[in-house]
Symmetry: C2
């Protein structure tokens, strides 16, 4: 083995070890402006790599408008548009702020965010509430009402419950839910159910007022996607310590903004390697079709980055009714993902594959060598602002991102060969 | 097609239709003595076909002693043994009383039972609480304390919650849990979680006192087997209307008492067709092994009778860590069960098999013709009285039961051929 190859292997084993040793615990819920470093007033975070207002996808623009109206910075979409276009409201990607957000991923200062601490290292990760409206680009009154209930009723109650119980370890819930047909991205239904049960007693014990208590328990026991935000924050907190390892070719983020798909690589610092966001192959809700769809969007591919989502589709065949495909295809996806990852999870296992660990740590070398790109479960947003969710499906990460990253890797770590 | 064969096919389609059309709803919880027809004072119901005291298995005797002490009919096991042996406490099987019970299946008058109504027909079915001690033959103080908490704290609270909500439809929970890796017999973990989700708000809204409320919610959110009793009552309420159809060769009960394995057949009335209860192949808890094991026991095979449990093992591979075996074997079991059933469920589907319906309606003719006998998930009790659960595994229904039933069928419905 030549010297550089050995350095890469060791660096990648270190990255795998850090991801495997992560211990994500839900520790708090707090307004984003208080919790997230660098999120300032008149600033909104968003999913994916950086993008400017003119190139921003319709759904992400719609979601931005909604956040600006929700914050009271603008009275309507027209006024908000002017503020964004003129630079009076700034925006930056979530990832550099230790944050992730589903779909448009917009996080504005007064939105309460889930706070997950990776107890092994002590780093925090943040994710916003998951819902089916404003995060997809809907800025209507009903969409914003969901954000207000979250801010004023549900999040404060859950915060009390979390303090009552002293934090909720997420690893046991994630491990269990993967044996209950979840893949934790499009289908976190078991984890959401287990989460609701874990919170019920602490919410009662914390003396949340009865009306708020009932409202909050109704919210968490009926929200089948609630755990997606926790899976995302858990994934982000688990993979962040694996970033910045010299010589590592492991992917530490895959994120999309509806315009570009970007990845970041451990040994390549904060740089984004981007390609146009692909179209999603999927099933549409009645009244919508492929012509309505925006391109791939969201930080939620952080779940695939740590080996969940599309990577464990074999164990989550219940999702096929939502995204299409056959059990055999699902099994093939999970087998394929083994070929482009550096190892397996020692926590998260798939019964249907004989309790093998989930495939962890996407290696840009293996992607380029095999031509196999990561498979990602996702939802579909409209191509224009103002719509809620219109469908769900599967998407492949663009090969070009991995190729660009490998070229940069060669430039940085030459000699001019990487394997 | 000859005349008798046509009559059988039509009768079996009618049986399948009745099972498929069942709509089980959890309507109440009440003391068995008030709820169950024919359960009198100084009488205990038990699992399986009829058995006398001398032939009764050790675990079932132990469970009977526990029930007698719990009722206050005896101060200890010695006194209780005399009462049973002398006939001062009577016992009868659950099934003729519209009831089912897990493992020893003992139901005594003051034990609250779950009451499920099949809304399609209006018939009721009853099942006792599932726990890991007294139903396995443990009659110690700690085992009985669990029965008292159920009687005095948890069951009364749940009853209030059920009244508050006006009953809980079980069909949606069952259908959903089968897509979450449950088989509803040894592994009802998803259904139990969904059940706890559904009960949380009604319990709060029903103004259950805070201490009792917290105790009950702790109980239901931590009891991964709680739904087994509801699956059993749902199954019993679903299959009972399919009993007593002239010419039908469909099995309407499979039940074991640790001594005998018995089946009942739709066209053959209330008669039991029995064979010695087989030994279970399984995995044991530390300190126990096959030499300690009692034979197969429990009414819980009512779940397989309607197409769950071992019949849907393909979709519940998470259970293999508990009972042993491989995903390929699990898939083969579910495929095999198609060969001995009259049809498929149109409610309960398996994503891993391309959303095919569960195999429903065991046909004694097909069992005898193919030599394939039903596969059953089960727990393992000790061969002696006084023990709690010692393991779990898989068991095959004895071929002899089906052969005996087919012989009787020929006698009753001759001419001397049945296919």
């Amino acid at each position: 083995m030549n010297d550089i190859k050995q350095k890469i292997e060791m660096a990648n084993m270190e990255a795998l070890k850090r991801i495997n040793e992560a211990d994500p615990v839900l520790v708090d819920i707090a307004p984003a402006g208080e919790a997230i470093p660098g999120l300032e007033d008149r600033m909104i975070l968003h999913s994916g790599p950086p993008v400017d207002w003119l190139r921003m996808s319709g759904a992400q623009r719609g979601s931005m408008l909604g956040a600006a109206i929700f914050e009271g910075w603008a009275k309507d979409a027209e006024e908000a548009t002017k503020l964004f276009a003129g630079g009076a409201i700034r925006f930056e990607p979530n990832h550099p702020h230790q944050a992730v957000g589903p779909m448009a991923g917009t996080i504005s200062p007064s939105m309460p965010v889930w706070i997950v601490e990776n107890k092994t290292v002590g780093n925090l990760a943040f994710c916003r509430q998951v819902e089916r409206f404003q995060q997809f680009g809907d800025y209507g009154e009903e969409a914003l009402q969901g954000l207000r209930l979250w801010r004023d009723v549900w999040a404060p109650a859950l915060k009390k419950g979390l303090r009552q119980m002293g934090g909720l370890p997420l690893k046991p819930i994630i491990a269990k839910s993967l044996q209950m047909g979840d893949e934790l991205h499009n289908r976190p239904v078991a984890a959401s159910s287990l989460f609701a049960n874990a919170m019920a007693c602490p919410l009662i014990e914390a003396d949340v007022p009865k009306g708020q208590l009932i409202g909050t328990i109704k919210y968490i026991t009926n929200h089948e996607l609630i755990f997606l935000a926790l899976a995302m924050a858990a994934a982000k907190s688990s993979v962040d310590p694996a970033a910045g390892i010299e010589y590592s070719t492991v992917v530490t983020a895959m994120a999309r903004n509806g315009t570009d798909f970007g990845i970041r690589v451990s040994g390549l610092g904060d740089e984004w390697f981007t390609a146009p966001a692909p179209r999603v192959e999927g099933l549409y809700f009645p009244g919508y079709g492929p012509a309505d769809a925006g391109a791939d969007m969201g930080d939620s591919a952080i779940t695939e980055t740590v080996g969940w989502g599309g990577f464990v589709l074999a164990g989550a065949t219940g999702i096929l009714a939502l995204v299409g495909g056959t059990p055999e295809e699902a099994m093939a996806y999970s087998r394929d993902m083994r070929q482009i990852t550096v190892g397996a999870s020692n926590n998260y296992r798939m019964p249907i594959m004989g309790f093998q660990g989930a495939p962890v740590g996407i290696d840009i070398r293996k992607v380029v060598q095999t031509g196999i790109v990561p498979i990602i479960d996702t939802a579909i947003a409209h191509r224009n602002p103002g719509y809620s969710i219109i469908g769900a499906g599967l998407v492949r990460a663009p090969f070009e991102c991995f190729k660009k990253a490998l070229v940069r890797f060669s430039e940085k770590y030459g000699p001019n060969r990487t394997s």
